[in-house]
Amino acid sequence: MRFFPLIFKNILRKRTRTALTIASIVLPLLVICLMGTFLKALDSPGSGATRGMFRLVVRHKVSLTNTLPKAYEEKIRQLPGVLAATNFNWFGGKYIDASARNIFIRFSVEPESFLQVFDDAEIVAGSVKDWLSDRTGALVGTNLAAKYGWKVGDRVVLQGDIFPINLELTIRALYTLPTGSSATLFFDRKYIDEAFPSFKGQVFTVWIKAKDAAAAERLPKQIDAMFENSPYPTKTETEKEFQNGFVSMLGNVKLLITSIGAIIVFVILLIAANTMSMAARERVTEIAVLRTLGFTRPKILGLILGESFVIALFGGLLGVLLFVAAEPSLKRQLMLTPMSSLVASMHVYPAILAFAFAVAAGVGLVAGIVPAVRSSTRSIADGLRQVA
């Protein structure tokens, strides 16, 4: 304890360098926290499942772009353990322009069955009745409405691409889901069916509300087996698996993120080690003087390692605190994007913070080891000779 003031004074010896070193730890640590949290959110069970929603998604086995016969929906609805079923149909198109900023998810649905499967959706403005009674009505998530400043009664024009039609929709209700993932626009599929009769009888995905966990576990195999030898084989998965499927389209995202994290740790380790080596090299004589005064090798080792450790811990603490402070606004921003369903369950995970902090502490120790050992083992006479 009595050597702490010496450690702190040495840390503050070159304030700019210390500040830059801390910054070089803080920023990567922020990224590690963010990536770790994202990975953890991907791995966490769907919040629906934990609340007994047990939603499943059935799609064509080959690709999401292949449609299924709508008759499948009826067959699935008849299966034991299925409480409700509905279909989602990707519209695509563009709103304002094709920039990434204006991309959001737009589905045509059958409102009545949609509300049965998503009976956890809360209507916070407008009414279900208004949406059901207006063929051009739209149900919009609160996050999406907030992004564009939409309110009930506003008109939204979507320019079609897959379906070459301009949809003129009127917002009839705003919804929010308990997960917080409320960034989608839903409209009545009759609008599409009337404009494109050829699409009638087809669906992109069938969404199911299973009765319970046992049904949710059994149904995927049962449904896929049922259609295995048909011209339209299916792939059935949980809502969470379906959402994570979009991430895996980018490749092995988990491996990618983990690899980037490992590289970041290695880079900050090099930066911190270089800084500590410089700090120790500049003080060769001073360390020799301390040893002359009676400071033993372990004490010198402790002083240098202590400096490295304190700098890294401070950087780690700052990085973690910054992430905790920034996470809510970061999540708010992500919830306005098409990634909203993926990040809906994202929150500050203590385990990720602890991991990031442990990384910082580890970097501090490892970075300080070489300069600390060198400083403590150099001959005193050699160290003193550097004065002359």
Partner: protein, 252 residues
């Protein structure tokens, strides 16, 4: 006859430089009494600083024996030597070697951090050491806020903070102007006379050497001359110091 405070027997120190062996001290014998003020002189490379380092326990001999204050230090381990130094030896360097980020008080307190003394006792010791060197009013100053002479006096306060019996000084006036150098020499004399410190001082400066009780002249690792104050005088005097320094060029 009492046992000398420092007894050196057949001291050899050799360094290995690539394939060559460089012998710096060859079979040196020396005895220094307690309370003596000894000046070590000699040309560069004569082995003065090496001898000082060996006496102070910061280097190890190749062979031979070194006994300081009744303790054989040549066979001691690293940790044991560190502990022994912290209690028995005070160091004064040519370039003061204060820690720049510590105040004068904190610099003097450094060796006391290695003792079991509580904070209040450490403070008392530091204040006493700084009062001896006349710098009580500068205890909160950083080295950069002090003159060279004042820095060296803080370094002397650090050397005496643990009240060691032996002070070793390597060119203590080498980096000072005449006035500051004189102040440091007066201080060393006082520590020797009033506080009975045994002092071993390496110097090129005849003026500094003249203040010692005894002057040992080394050349090529062997003791060339051993001059003691004569005629009831305490100091060897300028004439002897100049004579001893003749024949070698002082370092700039």
């Amino acid at each position: 006859m009492s046992e000398p405070f420092i007894r050196i027997e057949n001291l050899v120190k050799a360094y290995q430089r690539d394939t060559q062996t460089l012998t710096v001290l060859s079979g040196l014998n020396l005895a220094v009494d307690a309370g003596e003020f000894l000046a070590l002189m000699g040309p560069s490379g004569s082995g003065k600083t090496t001898l000082l380092n060996l006496i102070a326990g910061i280097d190890r001999p190749t062979s031979g024996r070194i006994n300081v204050g009744g303790k054989e230090i040549d066979g001691m381990g690293e940790a044991g030597l560190a502990k022994w130094r912290s209690r028995n030896v005070g160091f004064i360097f040519q370039l003061y070697n204060l820690v720049p980020v510590l105040t004068a008080f904190e610099n003097v307190e450094l060796p006391l951090l290695l003792t079991d003394l509580p904070r209040a006792r450490r403070r008392k010791q530091v204040e006493l050491a700084l009062s001896i060197v006349g710098l009580t009013d500068r205890m909160d100053h950083y080295p950069r806020q002090l003159s060279g002479g004042q820095e060296q006096r803080v370094a002397i306060a650090r050397a005496i903070a643990t009240d060691p019996k032996l002070l070793v000084a390597d060119e203590p006036t080498g980096d000072l102007d005449v006035k500051s150098g004189e102040e440091v020499l007066v201080l060393l004399e006082r520590l020797n006379e009033e506080f009975s410190k045994t002092i071993v001082m390496v110097t090129h400066d005849p003026r500094a050497a003249s203040r010692a009780h005894r002057l040992v002249h080394l050349d090529k690792g062997v003791l060339k001359e051993d001059i003691r104050a004569e005629g009831g005088k305490k100091e060897v005097g300028m004439a002897a110091a100049i004579a001893a320094s003749a024949g070698f060029e002082p370092n700039p």
